[in-house]
Amino acid sequence: MSLEFSPENQEKIQTLLDRYPDKRSTTLPVLHIAQAQFGTLTPEVINLVADAIDQESMHVRDTISFYTMFHTKERGKYHLQVCHTLSCSLRGSEQVVDHLYERLNFDENGMTADKQFSIEKVECLGACGTAPVVQINNDYYENLTIERLDEIIDKLQAS
């Protein structure tokens, strides 16, 4: 089975290639597109990206390995990224993590059995004034309390 970008994404990639002064500079944006479509950057997806922007797949692989937001392993449908750098830590990020672990049964890889949720402690998310903060997929949830955290998880579980 060969992978393909959706027609919409093919168009997006073409626009990027037209706008950027060189093809290699489109590596990050095209990886973001690929990850949004396929979820995980598997070797097949990496080859697809490399072909789309006319680069060696080794280059794409090297780039992926540097950045925390690119994932080569499967994540949950909702990826919970709990900021735990100083300002968040002072305001209770550890309790956020503890509560999530208590409430959702993560395995040793930080994934729930139904693959709905995965968890990762991340470094400063740049929202220290509204700490503690969790980023779930693309969205920030700020000024967390245990109550609010439960509401968020309830809502995601119901969806």
Partner: protein, 431 residues
């Protein structure tokens, strides 16, 4: 005299993001003025005369930086707005981008005109997905109004802006790491010289400026360098966004003139230390700058005053630590950040950052040894100024200054195998 907000004048308005709101407050009039009355060189001179200094942390004079762009190289010139905002404690640029994206975009267009750049980038940290979308929408609105595209407002100047998302790497806030990342590679900083102004993105002249820096530019154009210079101290003037986080009642972004007293920021704007506790320590400019003790906070927040007090204004990211927090625990947290974020290019930083983390962690865990503190200071010396970029110094500075200024807590920890102070787990429960 009450300070009149400049950078945040629109953020509390309804529909603050829309071009209509921005134009009602005089937005894009600076752009019109530039095209009507000014040459690129005159824009550079005005910004130089204003003494605007870079708000990303280094405080380098913006107009001087622009004047390093060589003329007639036959290559395109690029402007990159640094919206990587990753220094722990910093969240000011996010406010501007999410609430008043047009101020940022107008600053970008005028600055691009000044340095002769037809294609510019906003390099925004990957986590700021929503802000990237807001900027894209603002750019689209600006294009529809004719502020972007070909022959803008009949000036003959063409310009386009690309919003480029990073993908999670602190080091990409360092300008040459950022450029490498924009080129699609790992964000490994480059050896300088050559400086980016001469050889940057795709080996072309490139200027990298912080978001807040560029947001100041339209105001300098509209109201003049003289007006700007009269806000705050002469050598470090202008409006400033201060980030306040940690153990205060009211964390947030507060705008004041440069040189605003740190005490006022914490006790007036921030409402003081939360839960009725006492102040123990303040990190005034982001996690990479020297920590201040409670006795050292009687300072003004501008580049020169904070430097004179032995720390740095940095990104004006003030992190407050109260007297129930263990400084070993706090440092353990910060060393973990640097160990995680070291890009791995230079040996002293790649090896030293995790080594410092392991030592601080073992002290925190009650396994510290008497010579650990001296070893931490030695490792700091072995990293300091021995790396390609300032990250090495950023990683060792909190270690050295925490150990120097709070040595008693570290020694207590090693001797008694526990914290000198301990705080309850702090998750705020809703009453």
């Amino acid at each position: 005299m009450d300070y009149e907000p400049i950078l945040t004048q629109n953020v509390h308005k309804e529909n603050s993001r829309s071009i209509a709101t921005y134009e009602q407050s005089g937005g894009y009039s600076a752009l019109r003025k530039v095209f009507k009355e000014m040459s690129p060189a005159e824009v550079v001179d005005e910004v130089k005369a204003s003494n605007l200094r870079g708000r990303g942390g280094a405080g380098f004079p913006t107009g001087v930086k622009w004047s390093f762009v060589p003329k007639n190289t036959g290559k395109p010139t690029y402007l990159i707005m640094n919206a990587d905002e990753s220094e722990p404690g910093t969240f000011k640029d996010r406010l501007l981008m999410s609430k008043d994206p047009h101020m940022v975009v107008e600053g970008q267009i005028i600055s691009s005109f000044a340095i002769g750049c037809e294609l510019s980038f906003i390099y925004i940290r990957g986590e700021f997905y929503e802000e990237a979308q807001i900027l894209e929408a603002a750019i689209e609105e600006a294009r529809e109004k004719g502020y972007l595209g070909k022959n803008i407002l009949g000036s003959g100047f063409n310009h386009d802006i690309i919003v480029h998302r990073g993908a999670g790497a602190y080091i990409c806030g360092e300008e040459t790491g950022l450029i490498e990342s924009l080129e699609g590679k790992r964000g490994w900083p480059r050896i300088k010289p050559p400086f980016p102004a001469v050889e940057g993105y795709l080996q072309s002249p490139t200027i990298v400026n912080n978001v807040e820096t560029l947001a100041n530019v339209p105001h300098i154009i509209t109201r003049g360098a003289e007006w700007f210079k009269n806000i705050g101290p002469e050598k470090s003037p202008g409006p400033k966004l201060y980030c306040l986080s940690g153990d205060v009642e009211n964390p947030g972004v507060y705008e004041h003139a440069m040189g605003y007293p740190l005490k006022d920021l914490i006790y007036k704007d921030g409402g003081g230390i939360w839960k009725g506790r006492e102040l123990k320590a303040v990190i005034p400019g982001g996690s990479s700058v020297p920590v201040l003790t409670a006795d050292e906070i009687d300072i003004n927040m501008d580049f020169d005053s904070v430097a004179a007090a032995g720390s740095m204004l940095g990104s004006a990211a003030t992190m407050v630590i109260d007297d129930t927090a263990c400084m070993v625990d706090a440092l353990s947290n910060l060393t973990k950040f640097y160990a995680h974020e070291s890009c791995g290019q230079c040996t002293p930083c790649r090896e030293g950052s995790p080594w410092m983390m392991r030592i601080v962690r073992r002290i925190e865990n009650g396994d510290g040894e008497p010579n650990d503190l001296d070893m931490l200071l030695d490792i700091g010396t072995a990293i300091q100024q021995k790396t390609i970029c300032p990250f090495g110094d950023a990683a060792m500075t909190p270690v050295t200054t925490f150990v120097q200024k709070f040595r008693d807590e570290f020694e207590y920890h090693i001797e008694h195998k526990k914290c000198m102070v301990s705080r309850q787990k702090l998750m705020p429960q809703v009453a």
